[in-house]
Symmetry: C2
């Protein structure tokens, strides 16, 4: 494996003279991660080549190793960044002052918008990360737990807001959250594969499925933001 130290990495271009402003490390690292997400997302871990990632990032391969250490840790860094970005997008998309069904709707829209806009990141999280064992799997498991906790809280809030009867038991809420998260994962993968399904459409399908239920849908009774 090619690993160089900081001095070596800069030496190729240098002649002892002072070079005109070096790019900050954070910017360079971001470029490398952008390139890596794209290549890993499209090729998967094994088929992705460090040469291609370096070329797409416009840097030398030794510099990628210098910054990110190894292919494995570059992959883990991609997973962590994409997982945080997705979790943040969902959190920021939701107005906590709204009732639970509206928050779910906003959360779903934020989720499907983000996965549609970042198909390579989503492919890494949903498909490729599981194939690598630890530490990749642990990063994705943490993301999934965070989103499941968010959904669990939403369902509990919905139960508190409902006046019609006893809410579901804690154990059932846990199962419902698992069902909703699995449904969202599956739909996002399908929408990105199909290509013609817009984020809002996917979100509306899942909102109707999850909130109104098939029984109502079949009778033409849909969930609507205005109904409350």
């Amino acid at each position: 494996m090619d690993v160089v130290r900081a001095e070596d990495a800069g030496a190729a271009a240098g002649t002892g003279e002072r070079r005109p402003k070096r790019m900050p490390r954070a910017v360079r690292e971001r470029q490398m991660l952008d390139a890596a997400v794209r290549i890993f997302g499209r090729r998967g871990y094994r088929a992705a080549s460090m040469d291609e990632i370096a070329e797409l990032a416009g840097v030398s391969k030794p510099l990628v190793y210098l910054y990110l250490n190894s292919k494995e840790s570059l992959f883990t860094a991609c997973i962590r960044r994409e997982a945080q970005a997705l979790a943040e997008a969902v959190r920021e998309g939701v107005d906590p002052a709204l009732p639970a069904d509206r928050r779910l709707w906003e959360g779903l829209r934020a989720f499907f918008t983000h996965t549609a806009e970042h198909p390579d990141g989503w492919a890494i999280l949903h498909r490729h990360a599981r194939t690598r064992g630890e530490p990749s799997a642990a990063e994705v498991a943490a993301l999934r737990e965070g989103i499941t906790a968010f959904v669990t809280e939403l369902i509990q809030a919905a139960a508190r807001e409902a006046h019609g009867g006893p809410g579901p038991a804690e154990r059932e809420v846990a199962g419902l959250a698992q069902a909703l998260v699995g449904a969202a994962e599956s739909l996002a993968a399908w929408a990105n594969t199909d290509g013609s399904v817009a984020a809002n459409e996917a979100a509306a399908t899942l909102m109707n499925f999850a909130w109104a239920g098939l029984g109502n849908l079949m009778a033409g009774h849909r969930w609507s933001p205005a109904e409350r």
Copy 2:
């Protein structure tokens, strides 16, 4: 790789005399696949050892290679067998004469019962198969397509049976089927990890989620087989 021909495989025990009834090939192969499903399911593909599989099956390692050719093709054979068994269990669990919601309920019960009773097979299909690329991924994709087609047909039947209004568009039905299949996969994995969730309970949670919807559940209106 150790590969032996048929004569060699039997030779270890033989002395030229006629051996008392050889075990039929189908029976032996089944024993090997049983052992392989257990080991692959618990350890994953990479960590599984052919020695351990042969030992658990009570045969020599060369015989496993003779029958199943390679670790890769043994794994593919496991996936195919477990996928067929799961698809069959769901199909056989459903009475086609019943209305759509009852058929969905029976299908879900059959699905969760089978995955609970075959946790190693389910782990192979849901977790390990994706990590190997082709041909494993293709086998699982075929299973998933079969189950999605079954669910799509159920939703279309439900729409035909409903008298309340226009059913969902074909495109939405496809999305709903994806959501339902993803929810079932996620719940089955969760139930098998948790260990304390019974198959009937998981099926009831998903039936209520999918048919009644969260909105009704929160108000205490559940789906019930008797209601129709």
